[in-house]
């Protein structure tokens, strides 16, 4: 029995380590590429840079790249805060409150999430244009301030969430809204952090909407800028610049992830401490 556990442990660690290495590999390769010279890249070359060149990074920061990073940061942060509040409220209502039209609204949302985005893009453009929002960051913020997928996720979360605490609070005379903000939200931190990361990620990575809605280079979002960079430099095989751009675009969101890591599935620590 004891020996079995030992082997099992070794297998578990081996799989986890191998998968982690597999994950890191493409990124390591991209970082190494970003420090090569364009000529070395065109010639095929070795795994490590023959001579370390920072010209790719210099070209990157000489462009408007930093402005685009700032735009994406501001828009993504605002959108994330709105989403976390609105999605959680809706998910909570679906899971806990038996109101008129709940079943209908839920089916409707299930239906809406299945329509491919390509179709609604042009009608959406017409709506946004009629609201006079074209070429503003509000066009992104307002159109993505809720997300049905995460309303769906929060509903599942609250279905699995113990009812007892809320019932006790309800006995104490708190209103549903009061219960929601005073009891439910603080207890839902892990789910909220998870949601926040995914929402931020979604906005940070959104491609089609910025492309259609925003056309002034000063207002570009990062993905648009990255795409512009790759269009400019791919033909001359300047993969050093492109990889520098791709890698740098991951850094802010990775930092946010580290920052929220503490709350992200916080319950996890419980199983470790138990041993």
């Amino acid at each position: 029995m004891k020996k079995d556990n030992q082997t099992l442990k070794i297998i578990v660690y081996t799989i986890l380590i191998l998968y982690s290495l597999l994950t890191l590999f493409p990124f390591a390769w991209s970082i190494l590429t970003s420090f090569k010279s364009t000529a070395e890249i065109a010639g095929g070359g070795t795994f490590f840079p023959e001579t370390v060149s920072t010209s790719g990074w210099q070209t990157l920061f000489d462009s408007q790249y930093t402005t685009w990073v700032r735009n994406s940061l501001v828009v993504a942060l605002i959108t994330t805060v709105l989403n976390v509040i609105f999605n959680t409220m809706a998910g909570y209502a679906f899971a806990r409150i038996d109101f008129f039209g709940r079943k209908f609204l839920f089916s409707l949302m299930l239906l809406l999430i299945m329509i491919p985005a390509q179709v609604t893009m042009i009608p959406l453009y017409i709506v946004v244009s009629n609201l006079n929002l074209i070429n503003t960051h509000w066009s992104i913020i307002l159109t993505s301030m809720i997300n049905i997928a995460y309303i769906f996720m929060m509903r599942q979360f609250f279905i699995n969430f113990p009812k007892e605490v809320e019932e006790a609070a309800s006995m104490d005379g708190l209103s549903t809204l009061g219960i929601f903000f005073k009891i439910v939200l603080p207890n839902a931190k892990p789910a909220l952090a998870t949601q926040a990361i995914f929402i931020f990620m979604g906005v940070w990575n959104e491609f089609m909407r910025p492309l259609l809605f925003i056309s002034s280079p000063d207002l570009y979002m990062l993905t648009q800028g990255l795409n512009a960079l790759s269009n400019q430099f791919r033909n001359i095989t300047a993969w050093d610049i492109i990889m520098a751009g791709a890698i740098f675009s991951v850094i802010p969101i990775f930092m946010l992830f580290i920052f929220l890591n503490k709350y992200f599935i916080a319950a996890n620590d419980r199983s470790v401490g138990g041993k």
């Binding site: 364009t38 000529a39 010639g43 089916s107 042009i122 244009s129 009629n130 070429n135 280079p217 001359i236």
Partner: protein
């Protein structure tokens, strides 16, 4: 299932409401907004004009900005520049659908018939100065059924034959040995391949219709010439031409840079001494001169097919949207950019000027690298042919790739492409 039906009912009700609203209210509202925004933005004395372009190289963007400044100084009209990085066509379609089109925008010849037929462009016949000075094929492509003019070319590219002189010399040949006719050129490439190193190709090829449309034309067939039908098969000579490409690919003297050599672009393969010849547009020149400055190369005119000169021409113009808010300013802008400001634009951006007088002033006819490209402006086939072309081209590219991969013969591929294109055109 019941839930689903209920939801559907709801959606369709809203659809009807929305449809009614959109029919009358929407357009008006959009119009009003445009007016207010004009009043606010109108800082200069000479009015303003907004211009939408697609993103290209930093050099071209700088050139555009500088030429625009010259125009603003000259006229006092302010230009509001928007750069759309990708999917330009979709963005323009969306803007027309939302009654929010820019005053002036780039129009490539390929998409011109669709815009012209839809009636969304302003007829600018008689408002452009000195039209005869343009190379005819470049501007004629922007004319409608009754010869009315909808756009003015700002620059163009043509295909020419690039030769790597170092490789040729090492293999024991010189530029003079290169035959002008396509069939002889293939025979020469076959011979040359034997004298090259293993990782080198005699010639690079591209398999899209955009590069070979003129081969059909020279054999008397316009695949998308008749509106609403496609024809790839009625010219046996054209089929032979495409078979010669497959033959070369199988024998190894024709290679595709991405598929066979693993290099991102033809220019990079040529520049890295991996290919002795390529048929490419003048867009490769700046990369060849900057990234591969040690390279010795010569440029010749495209090979003749069926005994006649041929090349492909890619023409891009400025167009004005119909009922543009700032129509007068828009036309003034186009006139400046394609006339007084043309030389400045061409020199800064490194593109070819569509006016013969400017080409003369820039001494392009004496420039050994550019001359073959400029000569082709007269005889090249412009990549544009009616509203059916996008469907026809997409069907060709879909199936000719199968012939290149060896899963279909050229004849089968052409037959299949023709059937697919015709079926799709019938559905429209």
């Amino acid at each position: 299932m019941n839930k689903f039906v209920k939801s559907l009912g709801m959606v369709s009700t809203i659809a009807l409401l929305a449809a009614c609203n959109n029919g009358d209210g929407g357009a008006e509202e959009a119009g009003e907004q445009d007016e207010t925004s004009t009043v606010e933005d109108n800082g200069g004395n000479g009015g303003n004009v907004n211009l939408a372009v697609w993103g290209s190289s930093p050099a071209e963007t700088n050139a555009l900005e500088e030429t625009i400044s010259s125009f603003e100084e000259e006229t006092g009209i302010e230009v509001e520049l928007e750069i759309i990085q990708d999917n330009f066509q979709d963005a323009m379609t969306a803007r027309f659908a939302a009654n929010n089109a820019p005053d002036v925008f780039y129009l490539e010849a390929f998409a011109a018939p669709m815009f012209i037929e839809s009636g969304v462009l302003e007829n600018i016949s008689g408002e452009i100065d000195d039209v005869d000075d343009f190379f005819d094929p470049l501007i004629d492509v922007f004319r409608g059924g009754e010869d009315e003019l909808y756009a003015v070319p700002k620059d163009y590219s043509t295909l020419a034959l690039y030769v790597n002189e170092d490789l040729l010399e090492a293999a024991g040949y010189s530029t003079e040995d290169i035959p002008r006719d396509w069939d002889d050129l293939m025979a020469f490439a076959d011979e040359l391949q034997g004298d090259l190193e293993d990782n080198q190709a005699a010639m690079i090829f591209d398999q899209t219709l955009a590069r070979h449309y003129s081969a059909f034309i020279n054999n008397g067939l316009d695949p998308a010439g008749e509106e609403g039908s496609a024809d790839f098969t009625s010219s046996p000579e054209a089929i032979e031409y495409f078979e010669s490409i497959i033959e070369g690919k199988e024998a190894g003297y024709l290679q595709n840079p991405q598929i066979d050599m693993g290099i991102d672009s033809a220019g990079a393969a040529f520049g890295a001494n991996r290919a002795a010849m390529m048929i490419e547009g003048n867009w490769v020149i700046s990369a060849l001169n900057q990234e591969y400055s040690d390279l010795n190369y010569a440029v010749l005119e495209s090979p003749t097919i069926n005994g006649e000169e041929q090349s492909m021409t890619f023409s891009v113009g400025y167009t004005v949207s119909r009922d543009a808010e700032n129509r007068e300013e828009a036309i003034a802008f186009i006139n400046y950019m394609t006339n007084d400001g043309l030389q400045q634009w061409s020199e800064l951006s490194g593109t070819l000027p569509p006016r013969e007088s400017v080409a003369d002033a820039m001494d392009l006819f004496d420039n050994p690298v550019l001359e073959p490209h400029v000569l082709a402006a007269e005889y090249g086939t412009v990549w544009s042919s009616g509203e059916s072309l996008p469907v026809v081209a997409s069907a060709f590219d879909n199936y000719f790739q199968a012939a290149v991969n060896g899963t279909m013969t050229v004849e089968e591929a052409m037959q299949a492409a023709e059937e697919e294109a015709n079926a799709e055109l019938d559905r429209r």
